[in-house]
């Protein structure tokens, strides 16, 4: 290494720029003008993106070895040394590009979207966004689990801050807090895993951990990977810690696009891919991951079927797609998962930004039942949104098709039931996306006149990112095109191969015929779902309140209520009991009781002080008698009295 790797050594610049942006915007939010804030906010990300590109080109060269840039010792104690170090390799570089690239576009979009905010809040927004990018970059760049954890918690914090951005609204604050707390539950698992690794190996640096991984017993590696996965559950919104993500839509829409679709929620996938060495050693965990991923994908998809809030649909869709990615991880298709992260970043960011554009135009109306027919008012938004819908539905040759099929193929290899459920879920995905599309853009407008009067296409700062993302959504899939279509296929897999260890028990690849067959089935299912949704909802939008199963789905399987009933309420109840009963009457009761006991004893003993000489002398005489008994006949009393001698 070292040969011409100039950019890789400057990798610290990548997170540094957003940090600078954060500081400038954060401290100077009252001094800077809005445009200046926008320029700084986006500019630093662009700078990071440029550096990332430079790094990418270096990493792409053959024979590239991972570069570790160590800045300073973060925690250095005799038992271990955790440096503040960054690791540049294929995986982190890929994520750098996604984060800074998509991040930049969303920043640009935000300059326009958030333009109505007061300058200081505008500055606050951009500083949060910059801080988020900084944290996310730390997460993917860290050369050890602790640095990753810093980013891991940092993105959680930024997510909290941005969800609660409009802090006057207490519902948003609740959503923010919920997000943070649920993330924390996951973080706890992550942290415990880190402790375990640290205790066993005395290091958390990836390269050392993976090279020493064989010292773990089977039980340990399973436990560690499970704990890490708990972290991923929280961050990437998997069952049972997924309910925060739909609520997180309280934040500004670009935030949803960046954090809750494109980047932060994929941190869990990044982490597992990063730890693929460990996961490959723990097949039990892998199966668990696959099952959780698949269940989440299915559950979220069913919920998405009946949601009417445009962002909620997209949120559940995100949860569902993340489930897909975990399915991929669980069946060993690490590259597939990363591939899907990438394509998902493109089209889901696009969908959210498109939705943002719609919401912007609709003056913050988010319910699709009051939209419709926007096609003619917002052409660019409409086209890009349609492309994204096709991409997510897995229609060839859009990006989603390739990435999703890679996962499904791997699932098929692993277990056919996984595949069947996966395909059904894919069908549902196509259905709800086009239900959403149809109700938003097709048919006739159902909103108020005032809203109709204001309908317009968004400004270019918003549409240009849409267009760029649309292009990426369309062509992005070709980096991972399967072998059946091209000879020089799976560029992504080749690129990532140095960081991913193949499972030793990996089955043979499917025959091209089977693979074609699988693709055909999923495409057919998707197309049928699209046609049904399109025809049904463009004519007769679903406005009535749902009933029966529909109501069950619309109410999200009542999971929030369930959590409330079995976790939140009992916990508060216990806390109340502790506060009002145990603390007051119990512990403090004992303490005060001692005091009261002393007073009571004082009051009683006082009565012996009767003032009567006769009584006093009587007590004295009795005491003398007792004392003599004690001294001369006292041996029989020994057991009682020995109590006082030590």
């Amino acid at each position: 290494m070292g040969r011409g790797l100039i950019m890789a050594k400057l990798v610290y610049l990548v997170p540094l720029f957003p940090l600078i942006g954060f500081l400038i915007n954060g401290l100077g939010r009252k001094l800077l003008t809005k445009s200046l804030i926008g320029i700084i906010g986006s500019g630093v990300i662009l700078a990071s993106f440029a550096v990332s590109l430079g790094i990418f080109f270096e990493v792409k060269q053959d024979g590239f070895q991972p570069v570790i840039v160590s800045l300073f010792p973060f925690i250095k104690v005799p038992a271990f040394n955790i440096p503040f170090a960054f690791q540049v390799d294929q995986l982190s570089t890929l994520f750098l590009l996604i984060i800074t690239g998509v991040g930049f576009l969303i920043h640009v979009y935000s300059t326009s979207y958030m333009h109505e905010e007061e300058p200081q809040h505008y500055g606050r927004y951009f500083s949060y966004l910059n801080l988020f990018v900084f944290s996310m970059l730390l997460l993917v760049l860290g050369a050890n689990y602790v640095i990753m954890f810093i980013g891991w918690e940092g993105v959680g914090l930024c997510s909290y801050l941005l969800i609660g951005y409009w802090f006057k609204n207490n519902n948003y604050n609740y959503a923010a807090r919920k997000a943070f707390v649920m993330n924390r539950i996951g973080d706890l698992g992550f942290l415990l895993a880190v402790f375990w690794i640290l205790g066993k190996l005395g290091t958390v640096t990836y390269s050392e951990v993976f090279s020493k991984a064989s010292t773990f017993s089977n039980y340990e590696v399973t436990a560690i990977t499970l704990l890490l996965f708990v972290g991923a559950m929280g961050k990437s919104a998997q069952i049972p810690l997924y309910t925060w993500l739909p609520d997180a839509m309280a934040g500004p829409t670009p935030v949803s696009a960046l954090i809750h679709a494109a980047t932060m929620v994929t941190a869990g996938i990044y982490m597992i891919v990063r730890s693929n060495v460990l996961y490959t050693m723990a097949p039990a965990t892998q199966t668990f991951v696959a099952i959780i991923g698949l269940s989440t994908a299915f559950l979220a998809a069913t919920i998405a079927l009946k949601q009417n809030d445009i962002k909620k649909v997209l949120a559940y869709s995100t949860v569902s797609q993340l489930g897909y990615m975990f399915l991929g991880l669980g069946v060993g298709a690490y590259t597939g998962a990363v591939f899907h992260v990438m394509t998902h970043a493109f089209f889901k960011a696009l969908l959210f930004l498109g939705a943002g554009s719609v919401i912007h135009a609709m003056q913050n109306q988010q319910d699709v039942r009051f939209m419709g027919g926007l096609k003619k008012y917002m052409p660019i938004t409409h086209i890009t949104f349609l492309l994204a819908c096709l991409a997510i539905s897995g229609i060839p040759p859009f990006s989603g098709f390739f990435s999703k099929d890679e996962i499904l193929a791997a699932a098929y290899e692993h277990n056919k039931v996984f595949w069947i459920i996966g395909v059904i879920t894919a069908g549902m995905t196509a259905f709800y996306m086009f239900r959403l599309y149809a109700m938003t853009f097709l048919g006739h407008f159902r909103g108020t006149h005032e809203q109709e009067h204001h309908l317009h296409e968004s400004p270019s700062a918003m549409t240009i990112p849409l267009i760029i993302l649309a292009i990426l959504s369309v062509v992005g899939g070709f980096v991972g095109i399967p072998e059946v279509f091209a000879s020089n296929a799976h560029a992504l897999e080749h690129f990532l191969s140095p960081v991913i260890v193949k499972s030793t028990e990996a089955t043979e690849h499917l025959t091209p015929g089977t693979e074609m067959m699988l693709m055909a089935v999923s495409v057919v299912v998707a197309v049928i779902a699209i046609i049904y949704a399109w025809t049904r909802f463009s004519k007769k939008p679903e406005i009535a309140e749902p009933e029966g199963t529909g109501k069950f789905l619309a109410n999200k399987w009542y999971v929030d209520e369930l959590y409330d009933a079995i976790i939140a309420r009992p916990l508060l109840g216990i806390a109340g009991v502790f506060k009002n009963v145990v603390e007051k009457s119990g512990i403090d009761g004992v303490v005060n009781g001692v005091g009261r006991g002393v007073q009571y004893a004082g009051r009683q003993i006082r009565l012996m002080q009767s003032g009567q000489v006769g009584n006093y002398i009587l007590l004295m005489v009795l005491s003398i008698v007792l004392m003599i008994i004690l001294v001369f006949y006292g041996n029989n009393l020994n057991p009682v009295l020995n109590y006082f001698s030590k």
Partner: protein, 477 residues
């Protein structure tokens, strides 16, 4: 000699302060002396332990000498004390106290006591300072506190006094077990006791320290006292004084009774872990900022208590680091509480809300402090809590995991607090801005800077105190 100065300056300044009738001058004098002490303390950081040792004859008949010295941990804690007081004085500069001369006099005496505790190398001397720190604090709470101050602080006093008296018995007990009948730390660190004696003495000392820290179930004095004390005193109590307990365990208890410490570690750690969860849960249901922070502090101290007894060098390092971190953080929180209480006239969550609109800068600073309170990475408490949880987890995985639940609960109540105070709609109709005086703001900024600097680059503090860790762990082995 520098070490002696650290004690003498506040003592003398404190006595002088009693005679300064004018409020302004008293304040200025206190601040001046506190800053002077800070300067001395900063100088002492760069001296080596030998040159900081001062030894003089005191009570030859009793085997006690006036021996003070500073090792890494001592330097750190005297620094914490020296930093806290100027910050406290400066941040509450605008508050008015009746008879300010006595107020500042007692404050400075408390400072002297605290400093003395941290640098005594003679057990009897240590006990002296231990009490010297308590008495003025009692007067401060009782005289300048809230409505229920008299019974509450009295409970606090008696509670801690019982603890220290038991410790006194323990001190005498070990004194007669030293071969040369001496209170010197070197003699006491080489006791040879039977298992029974060691256990007995262990508990005598531990109860005193446990009350001071406080460890569940000896904690009930604390929330009341914090609530009723004037905030400046609460800062001293929670920022520095509770560290006395932790410090004393590390300085005295563990090295004197290494075997008993190992034997009792299960019991202590279980108590501490129960306390962490218990206090966290209670914190969730509080309606008073001070009580919430008080319970939060109990939870944090519980972690320190658990970690100290794991016998793990890393955990010990974490505890020592966290003493500083916790002190800085909680003082920061109290400063904000003080501002709110002074200006809004209430500390009830149910009566607060939306202050972020009235005082955005304060909100930001408070949020950072709150995040430090929940040990977010890149704040100083993360370092400490990381090391401490690590050690507890290695001590026993189940206990570690259970203890770690408290970090979730910490997030719940801390964010709840932030939300209730700063977010949401403004509660009162008046659209007045919350005035945050420049001095208060400056102090908060300093504290935030400390939080972040040591959160990102904790190494100086770790290196400073590593000698203590090495010594203690060697003693435990």
């Amino acid at each position: 000699m520098i070490t002696v100065l650290l004690i003498i300056v506040p003592v003398l300044a404190g006595f002088v302060s009693f005679f300064i009738k004018d409020e302004k001058s008293a304040k200025g004098w206190a601040l001046l002396s506190a800053v002077a002490t800070l300067v001395i303390s900063l100088i002492s950081i760069f001296q080596n332990t030998n040159s900081l040792t001062f030894d003089a004859s005191w009570l030859p008949m009793m085997g006690s000498r006036f021996t003070v010295s500073l090792d890494g941990m001592g330097k750190m804690l005297t620094l914490l004390t020296a930093v806290s007081f100027p910050i406290i004085f400066a941040s509450t500069y605008n508050n008015h106290y009746k008879s300010p001369n006595a107020f500042y006099g007692f404050m400075l005496l408390t400072q002297a006591g605290l400093t003395g505790v941290f640098c005594s190398m003679d057990l009897l001397l240590f006990y002296f300072f231990w009490e010297l720190a308590l008495i003025p604090a009692y007067f401060l709470c009782s005289k300048w506190g809230g409505e229920r101050r008299i019974p509450v602080t009295f409970k606090f006093f008696i509670y801690t006094f019982i603890g220290s008296l038991l410790m006194l018995v323990g001190i005498l007990f070990v004194y007669y077990k030293t071969p040369d009948h001496s209170f010197a730390i070197t003699s006491l660190h080489n006791l040879s006791l039977t298992a029974g004696e060691e256990n007995f003495a262990f508990w005598l000392f531990f109860i005193a320290f446990a009350i001071k820290m406080p460890v569940f179930p000896f904690h009930t004095w604390q929330p009341d006292t914090y609530e009723q004390s004037p905030t400046a005193v609460t800062m001293v109590l929670s920022g520095v004084m509770v560290k006395m307990g932790v410090f004393a365990v590390i300085r005295w208890l563990l090295p004197m009774f290494p075997n008993a410490s190992v034997r009792m570690s299960d019991a202590v750690i279980i108590l501490a872990v129960i306390g962490m969860l218990y206090a966290s849960l209670i914190a969730i249901r509080q309606d008073d900022i001070k009580r919430l922070i008080a319970y939060s502090s109990i939870a944090h101290i519980g972690l320190m208590a658990a970690s100290m007894f794991t016998g793990d060098a890393t955990g010990m390092q974490g505890v020592i680091f966290q003493m500083f971190a916790h002190g800085v953080n909680i003082i920061g929180l109290w400063i904000v509480v003080d501002v709110i209480e002074q200006q809004m006239g209430t500390r009830k969550f149910s009566e607060l809300g939306g202050l972020a609109q009235k005082a955005p800068a304060l909100a930001i600073l408070f949020v950072i402090m709150a995040l430090a309170n929940i040990a977010l990475p890149l704040t100083n408490s993360f370092i400490g809590e990381f090391l401490m949880f690590n050690s507890v987890f290695h001590y026993n995985k189940i206990l570690g995991a259970v203890a770690a639940i408290s970090i979730i609960l910490a997030a719940v109540y801390t964010l709840w607090m932030v939300q209730k105070i700063f977010f949401g709609e403004v509660r009162d109709a008046e659209d007045t801005r919350l005035k945050v005086p420049a001095n208060t703001r400056l102090m908060l900024v300093i504290l935030v800077a400390v939080v972040l600097i040591f959160g990102v680059y904790p190494q100086p503090m770790i290196s400073l105190t590593s000698d203590t860790v090495t010594k203690i762990i060697a003693q435990l082995k």
